[in-house]
């Protein structure tokens, strides 16, 4: 297994682990963390692919992913706080009615 | 022009009455009277300045040439008499409905429209236009029954509508058939009268026409709508029904079958006379069994109009002229009886003969008027009704003495129901319902006087009526005599 393939496998593993976390955990906080892990997978794949082809776009895409993750965390934490205030805990399933 | 006026004046008079109601109290009544009065004047002008020939007045204009539809109006003595009755009864209906205040504007408009549509029936000789007016006539009459009637008025109005609309289909089908088979397409009755239909076709077409006419007439077994419609209708509605709508059936029977289907009529004449004879006796017997005064008179209408059917089917001079006289005489006598009973119902709230009685004591003028039309109803000589019946019976003796004998039996039956009617109303000690009944007032008295005068004058000077109808009788007989065996 060469370097790139190894790195891509690790990226896929990160993504799969994050996906499992999102699906399996009910606490929004944990789901947010899992989402970050999921994002880390593609980000790693971008960096690895950029390095492998000697192109700078891969690194640029990594920066965009980082910004996306930051925005997502900001929104997610806001939602988490709202949910805590209304439902009393951070259970995502408690919000399935999507009603105030 | 006089002919067009017969249609347009009452038609637009109706709309004018609708509008006039907003400008002041009782305005719509006077507008309706003015419209129908103007119609009468126009008719008078048309008669006075009329031509000498077959028609007093004639009007022809294309309307939809590609379909062969024309406005084809013609008036002879019979038509003129019918038109006079129509406008005259219209005016009388307004006068005796002075107490109607509920939706009065529409009420008077409906009266005007009934008159307009009936005038259209009397005048039209384009069969499609005739059929149009024939159907149109049902609408305002339906409104009169359904909106201003008594008791179970919706049911009566629906019965009236269903019977007449279904029967109108027969007429419409026959008219379409005739128009479609003509070449070039035309609905002109005079042209269609020349076409040579086979005997079977004539019989079928005649059945279509006769269905419409016999339901309107009405002859048993098509009469079920009449007693209900009469009893539930307001007084004006009863008058227009008896004096006008029934007469359109008689008029149609008199005018079109002999003209269009002489062979078919000759073939079916025996059946027609038999049906008429049955109707005379059946109507008479049923009239004897009624306790409701209006129903009683309605059944006498059935009997008397059956005599008209007998007369038309008789196909001889006496019978035909008798049929003409009978239908005019019946217009006077039956509408007067309905007027009187309606006025009585308005005063006492009942038409039940068992609850009435003793009117002679409390309202002598009322009772005297009843006695006059009582005499007319039982065909007392000196009234036009006797003239009509005697002429029809004479004609029947020429054709078939059995029918004459049956018609004579009806003279006896008529005494039974007529005495029942006057016995229940005028005789006896005054019942609670008729105590303190006010006598006839002005607006009731003069219509009664006019109707009574008409019945008596035409009965005592019959030449007035017979001479007037003669051209129509001759014209009706002309094609019949050719085909009679």
């Amino acid at each position: 297994m060469t370097g790139v393939s190894f790195l891509l496998a690790i990226a896929a593993g990160l993504f799969a682990a994050g996906l499992f976390g999102v699906l399996a955990r009910r606490t929004i906080l944990m789901q947010l963390i899992s989402l970050e892990i999921m994002l880390a997978g593609p980000a790693l794949a971008f960096v690895a692919a950029g390095a492998h082809h000697g192109m700078v776009e891969g690194t640029a895409m990594f920066l965009i992913v980082l910004a996306l993750a930051a925005a997502e965390v900001a929104l997610g934490l806001a939602i988490y706080l709202q949910l805590r205030r209304h439902a009393g805990d951070g259970d995502a399933d408690a919000a399935r009615q999507l009603r105030g | 022009m006089a002919l067009i006026a017969q249609l347009l004046l009452p038609f637009f008079g109706g709309f004018a009455a609708l509008l006039a109601a907003r400008t002041g109290r009782d305005r719509e009544r006077w507008v309706a009277i003015a419209a129908m009065g103007a119609t009468l004047v126009a008719l008078l002008a048309g008669v006075v300045f009329g031509d000498d020939g077959r028609w007093l007045a004639f009007y022809r204009a294309d309307w939809a040439p590609s379909f062969g539809i024309q406005v084809l109006l013609a008036m002879d003595g019979l038509t003129a008499a019918m038109l006079a009755i129509s406008s005259g009864l219209g005016i009388i209906s307004v006068f005796i409905s002075w107490h109607v205040t509920h939706r009065s504007a529409l009420f008077h408009a409906a009266i005007c429209w009934t008159v307009a549509a009936a005038n259209g029936v009397f005048l039209s000789f384009d069969l499609l236009i005739f059929a149009f007016f024939w159907e149109l006539m049902i609408v305002p009459a339906f409104l009169l029954i359904a909106l201003w009637g008594h008791g179970d008025r919706e049911a009566a109005a629906i019965k009236f509508l269903v019977f007449n609309a279904v029967a109108g289909l027969g007429l419409l089908a026959a008219v379409f058939w005739m128009g479609a088979t003509s070449d070039p397409v035309t609905f002109d009755a005079f042209v269609l009268a020349e076409s040579d239909y086979s005997k079977t076709a004539q019989i079928l077409l005649l059945l279509g026409f006769a269905l419409a006419f016999m339901v309107k007439l009405p002859v048993p077994p098509f009469h079920a709508w009449l007693p209900d419609a009469h009893t539930q209708a307001p007084t004006a509605g009863s008058i227009l029904l008896a004096g006008l709508l029934l007469k359109t059936g008689a008029y149609g029977l008199f005018r079109f079958p002999p003209m269009l289907f002489p062979e078919g009529l000759t073939a079916l004449a025996g059946w027609g006379m038999a049906l008429g004879a049955f109707g005379v006796v059946y109507g008479g017997i049923l009239a004897c069994g009624q306790t409701d005064a209006k129903r009683l008179v309605a059944y006498t209408s059935v009997a008397h109009m059956s005599i008209v059917l007998m007369g038309v089917c008789g196909g001889v001079h006496f019978a035909l002229v008798g049929a003409g006289v009978e239908m005019i005489a019946h217009a006077f006598s039956s509408s007067a009886l309905f007027l009187l009973i309606g006025a009585l119902q308005h005063r006492t709230g009942t038409r039940d003969l068992r609850e009435l009685g003793g009117l002679q004591k409390t309202a002598p003028a009322f009772a005297t008027s009843f006695a006059l039309f009582f005499a007319a109803a039982l065909a007392m000589p000196g009234t036009a009704n006797f003239l009509g019946e005697a002429l029809v019976i004479t004609g029947m003796f020429q054709v078939n003495w059995i029918f004459a004998a049956i018609a004579l039996v009806s003279l006896v039956v008529s005494v039974v129901y007529a005495t029942r009617l006057i016995g229940g109303i005028a005789f006896g000690a005054p019942k609670p319902a008729v105590q303190n009944v006010p006598d006839l007032h002005r607006y009731e008295l003069w219509p009664i006087a006019i109707l009574g005068l008409c019945a008596l004058v035409f009965g005592l000077f019959p030449q007035l009526l017979i001479g007037w109808l003669w051209t129509a009788v001759e014209a009706a007989l002309e094609p019949l005599i050719v085909v009679q065996p």
Partner: protein
């Protein structure tokens, strides 16, 4: 042109009728009486000079055309005319009716709650009708007068409005006479068709000349018409009950004039009757049967008015005998005499009843001879004339002439004569029963009452004529174109002895209690052989049953035929509404034929529409629509609202997309 004066004969009473009926000025009682009496007596003033001029030969036959009606090729020429027959009858009618009107002025004024206006209006109308009938020169005017009399008869019999009995009597009279009138109308119309004219002068010869089967038919129809109006057996039942009317009405209509009009009709059409032997014989037989029946029934009566009614029936039977044996002139002579003495008897009985214990029963007349002597004397004169007291009374002369004519006619006439003689004896028996009763001492003594000259005047005049009129019978017969019979002496003696025997019998019936009891118990005979009950059972009740069967109930059978409409949904519910409409509305009766059409319509409606109820196509569409609804219901469950479920779906979707993308790279 003088002939047009004839129109003035029926005009005054007609004008009187119009004035009184319309009553424009709210006339007071005096004005009503004045108008009535002027209108009632004017015809006499007009007709008397004309009739006398005609009868004395100064003035020939007159005809005054009124107008002519053209019906195609036929001409209906109406006219009034004066010939000997109409002169005699019109004079009689005008005279008797004037007497009755004068009498009625007094008589009716005394009655309680009298509606004088209506009474006199109708009496005047009756006069106009009767006069135009006797003066008619054509069959239409004749029938007009004939029917007008029937109408007035109905209203006058039921003059007492509050009495149901009076109304029933009037109705019965009207219906029975109308049956006969229908026959008469048929006869007249057939004659018209045969002759092509309505003028009696052409109609009657043409009628007599018919040699087909129509001849006897027409004659028979005329006979039926006459028998109905004249209350001849078996049409007689209406006359005794018609006595419910006031006495002047009975005196004028139901004895002297209208009832005898049948005899006038037959005398008028005598040539037609004579041309048909069979019908003539039937006329004579009907006459003699009625004469005997009427006389026998009259003997058993206990009410003086009913007695006189049966007497009228019987006397008109004599007139029919005369027409039947071919002596119409003699019949008319008897008509005149009968009019005089019968109106006299009725009017006198009215005065006597008022003077007596009240009521019109014969027993109530006891002692009235002393209380109202003039009325009693006139009554006795009338009764003598009716009984045919030999030589001194008019009745004897005219009745003898009839019997002698029958005697001379044929073998049938001989039988008729024999029966007629028996009837004559019975006539004397019943005629004198009221007279003898009135002579008996009253049970309670009351002073003599005042007799108003208005009431008694006409009585005296009539009484004189009823006695002395006998002198006129022979000339009258000759004037009318008949030949006074000259029977053998023994025939005349037989007639005279019959009358005398009858009077003796009458005395016996009145004064011998045992016999009087027998009369009182003769209930069957008194009821006129109970023909009334028989007619009721044979005609009236079946007719009523027919009417009830046809119009009874409200037509509930419709529901049985069509069905009530079972369910409460869709068409069935509409059907229920339609069936409700097919039934008659509140207060209405059944009408089988009319409803049959409605039922047929409903049947067709049901037959056409029920296969489409429920509508299969509609059901298919609805199934589809419901299927979509169910699918949506299921699809809804996917929407759990759980973020994780959606994320899983996203993941599966992504995986699927990747798989597809991967698959598409295959070549």
């Amino acid at each position: 042109m003088l002939a047009y004066l004839l129109l003035l004969v029926p005009t005054p009473p007609l004008a009187g009728f119009v004035l009184l009926a319309l009553d424009p000025y709210r006339l007071d009682r005096r004005a009503v009486r004045a108008a009535a009496i002027v209108a009632g007596c004017a015809p006499l003033a007009v007709i008397a000079p004309m009739a006398i001029a005609h009868l004395t030969g100064l003035w020939g036959d007159q005809i005054a055309p009124i107008f002519t009606l053209y019906v195609g090729s036929y001409e209906v020429a109406l006219a009034v005319g004066l010939d000997t027959l109409s002169a005699v009858t019109a004079l009689t009618v005008a005279f008797v009716s004037a007497c009755v009107m004068i009498y009625a002025l007094d008589y009716m004024s005394g009655a309680r709650n009298a509606d004088l206006r209506r009474f006199f209006a109708l009496m005047n109308l009756f006069q106009a009708g009767m006069l135009s009938m006797v003066l008619a020169a054509d069959s239409i005017t004749f029938f007009l007068g004939w029917e007008l009399m029937g109408l007035c008869s109905f209203f006058l019999i039921s003059y007492n409005m509050t009495s149901p009995r009076a109304f029933a009597a009037g109705q019965k009279a009207f219906v029975i006479t109308r049956i006969a009138d229908a026959a008469l109308l048929a006869g007249l119309l057939l004659l018209f068709l045969e002759a092509g004219s309505v003028r009696l002068s052409e109609l009657i010869p043409a009628g007599a000349a018919i040699d087909t089967a129509r001849g006897p038919l027409i004659a028979a129809l005329l006979l039926i018409g006459a028998m109905g109006k004249s209350a001849q057996f078996p049409f007689h039942t209406w006359l005794p009950t018609a006595m419910a009317g006031p006495t002047p009405v009975s005196a004028l209509l139901h004895s002297a004039t209208m009832v005898a009009a049948g005899a006038v009709l037959l005398a008028r059409f005598a040539p037609v009757m004579a041309a048909n032997d069979g019908v003539a014989a039937a006329t004579a037989i009907a006459g003699v049967v009625t004469a005997l029946f009427g006389a026998a029934s009259a003997v058993a009566q206990t009410d003086v008015k009913r007695l006189l009614a049966y007497s009228s029936i019987s006397q008109i039977g004599y007139m029919l005998i005369a027409v039947g044996v071919g002596a119409p002139a003699v019949a008319m002579a008897h008509f005149v005499v009968h009019a005089l003495f019968k109106s006299l008897l009725f009017m006198a009985s009215g005065v006597l009843s008022h003077a007596g214990a009240g009521g019109t029963s014969i027993a109530a007349l006891r002692g009235t001879a002393r209380r109202a002597p003039i009325a009693f004397a006139s009554f006795a004169a009338g009764a003598a004339s009716l009984a045919g007291l030999p030589l001194v009374t008019a009745g004897w002369w005219s009745k003898e002439a009839i019997l002698a004519s029958a005697f001379e006619a044929s073998w049938l006439g001989l039988a008729v004569w024999a029966v007629g003689l028996t009837a004559a004896a019975l006539t004397a028996v019943y005629a004198f029963r009221p007279v003898f009763t009135a002579l008996r001492a009253p049970e309670t003594e009351t002073p003599r009452g005042r007799e108003s000259w208005l009431a008694v005047g006409p009585l005296v005049v009539l009484a004189v004529l009823a006695l002395a009129g006998g002198l006129g019978v022979k000339p009258l017969t000759e004037l009318l174109g008949g030949h006074p019979p000259h029977p053998a002496l023994w025939v005349e003696l037989a007639g005279a002895s019959a009358a005398l025997l009858g009077i003796a019998g009458s005395a016996a019936l009145t004064f011998v209690p045992a016999l009087a009891d027998r009369v009182a118990r003769a209930r069957r005979l008194r009821a006129g052989l109970q023909m009334d009950a028989r007619y009721y059972a044979l005609l009236v009740r079946p007719y009523r049953r027919l009417v009830r069967r046809l119009s009874g109930g409200r037509g509930e059978w419709v529901e049985r035929v069509v069905g009530r409409g079972r369910g409460a949904q869709g068409l069935e519910r509409e059907l229920e509404g339609a069936v409700r409409h097919a039934r008659q509305p509140e207060g209405a009766s059944s009408d089988p034929v009319g409803q049959a059409t409605v039922v047929l319509g409903l049947w067709i409606w049901r037959a056409l529409l029920l296969p489409f109820s429920p509508d299969r196509m509609d059901m298919a569409w609805m199934w589809g629509a419901r299927g979509i609804g169910r699918a949506a219901e299921r699809a809804r469950r996917l929407q759990t609202g759980r973020v994780r479920d959606y994320a899983l779906a996203l993941a599966f979707g992504l995986a699927a997309l990747l798989l597809i993308g991967w698959g598409m790279t295959w070549r």
